[in-house]
């Protein structure tokens, strides 16, 4: 760090300001002020627009705590986040291990890119693509019935498992990425040392590899859990009538019911939950990053 500071003056906010100001002004107008406005707005009875009457109220928060529906949905969303995160660990961690420790050279590079690629493509479209697989008469149904002797009906579409499958598909590359980064940083000689001292593969995994890759696991878990708790498009498309979660209720307040203050309060409660979770993960994330 010290030699970087040698260029430019040391305590130099003045020359930095013109370079920083446009970007941070933009972030303020489009992110930070809106988030503050949302908090403010969640304490109002109505939109303070077009001369409408409004007053301060705690009613929107009272609604959350008095109607068990909202807290139930929040728990359903938290559970969804937990389940999706666990599946991502189960599926993503072994893949990250194979990428980091088994594959070498160009094939590793190519496969790594292939795993990460879908993550950066359109999420909505990838969720829609599962509808093609999961619906009755879809590929899964047709193939299984062609292979299996007895006739069974596979109609996973519009069910809780469908939502889980779609979300895991969306987020598992995140887990592979973060775990791969920590796993490939583990020195192979540590693993060899463990083995030569008589530890079994399983013991090496439990005592050496998993503890050392913990930061990647936790970073991945936080990066997956948070957006899943706030998801609404995925449950809508793949869950149908069973796909009512906390996120879809917030969406409804803004696009269907038009109770914006309640929507703002619900959003803010979600934000608080998310911030607590990120805060818990932050020390680990900082060490990993």
């Amino acid at each position: 760090m010290a030699e970087q500071l040698a260029t430019g003056s040391r305590r130099a906010l003045r020359p930095a300001l013109p370079l920083l100001l446009p970007a941070y002004l933009w972030l303020t107008v489009a992110i930070f002020l809106p988030l503050s406005a949302m908090v403010f707005f969640s304490f109002m009875t109505d939109l303070p627009l077009a001369g409408k009457e409004w007053a301060f109220t705690l009613g929107n928060y009272a609604a959350f705590f008095s109607q068990s529906l909202y807290s139930k949905l929040l728990f359903a969303s938290l559970r969804l986040g937990l389940e999706v995160t666990l599946w991502c660990v189960v599926i993503g961690y072994p893949a990250a291990y194979v990428l980091a420790k088994v594959l070498k050279g160009r094939s590793r590079e190519a496969i790594f890119l292939l795993v990460i690629l879908p993550f950066w493509s359109n999420g909505l479209v990838r969720i829609f693509s599962w509808a093609m697989v999961l619906r009755e008469g879809g590929i899964l149904d047709t193939t299984l019935n062609a292979v299996l002797p007895s006739k069974i009906n596979i109609d996973l579409m519009y069910s809780y498992p469908a939502v889980i499958i779609g979300l895991v598909h969306s987020y598992v590359p995140y887990m592979v990425l973060t775990c791969y980064l920590t796993l490939q940083a583990i020195d192979d000689s540590l693993i060899e040392a463990g083995r030569s001292l008589g530890a079994s593969r399983l013991q090496v995994l439990k005592r050496v590899i998993i503890p050392l890759s913990m930061p990647g696991l936790i970073a991945g878990a936080a990066l997956i859990f948070v957006p899943v708790v706030g998801s609404f498009m995925e449950p809508r498309i793949l869950g149908g009538r069973t796909g009512t979660f906390y996120g879809t209720v917030i969406e409804d307040q803004f696009v269907a019911v038009f109770n914006w203050p309640l929507g703002a309060a619900l959003s803010f409660i979600l934000l608080a939950v998310v911030l607590v979770i990120l805060g818990l993960a932050a020390p680990v994330l900082r060490r990993a990053g």
């Binding site: 430019g8 406005a37 939109l47 590079e109 879908p118 493509s121 957006p227 803004f254």
Partner: protein, 262 residues
Amino acid sequence: MATTRILEWVGRFYIFLLLGFLYLPIIIMGLMSFNASPFYQLPFEWTTDWYASLWQNDQLIAATWNSIEIAIITTILSTVLGSMASLALYRYDFRGKKLLQALLFPPIAIPWLITGTAMLIFFFGIGIGRGLIAILLGHVALALPYVIVVVSARLQTFAPELEEAARSLGANQWQVTVRVTLPWIMPGVIAGGLFAFAVSFDQFVVSYFLSTPGQTTLPVEIYAAIRKGFTPEINAVSTIIIVVSMALMLLTARFFKFGGEK
């Protein structure tokens, strides 16, 4: 030794299965866009009718143009502003720098549902309302942190002695930046720009809350269509989107190593 070999092959097979899980639905969606049956019936009968009918869908074409325009403007604005900020964060040390760097994470980490609804409330409150301007405001803000992170990562590999040398040879600050620093960080700037394009072009949630029926983007239009019912036309336009965004990311990968390691 034999066990190790077997385990390695199990591992390779596992990766193969994972790739299947990741790509099969996308491939099936693409195949169905070339299938003649409007109800996705098999056997497969080749047609390009669904793509042809996209050209008749004025609403979809208008939304596509909006998406492309917004993505291009977002790319330019966020790349310029983001690179400037990265340079400042690299060159200068001042009080509150850590805070400014930490402030880049909320836009990335807070679920878009929250950011999007907050923008809707605020833009309504200050009179911007919904529409393309609001969408653009939001997209640039979402793309900026990515650009700053990517360009800053590239700046970490830059030797400050080079700037020092240019300065001692009589170059002024502007010349140093344009002739020395910028050429070096160019791969990072290009990667940041491609990220910004992808963030904007694929953005659904924030656009969804900020759009109006006339002023909308392609993903929002597709969501509306999906909720009315599945048609092979949606498959066709989705296939185009996924091919475009994957091609973009492959291009980005040429400039930016996601793995951090060779």
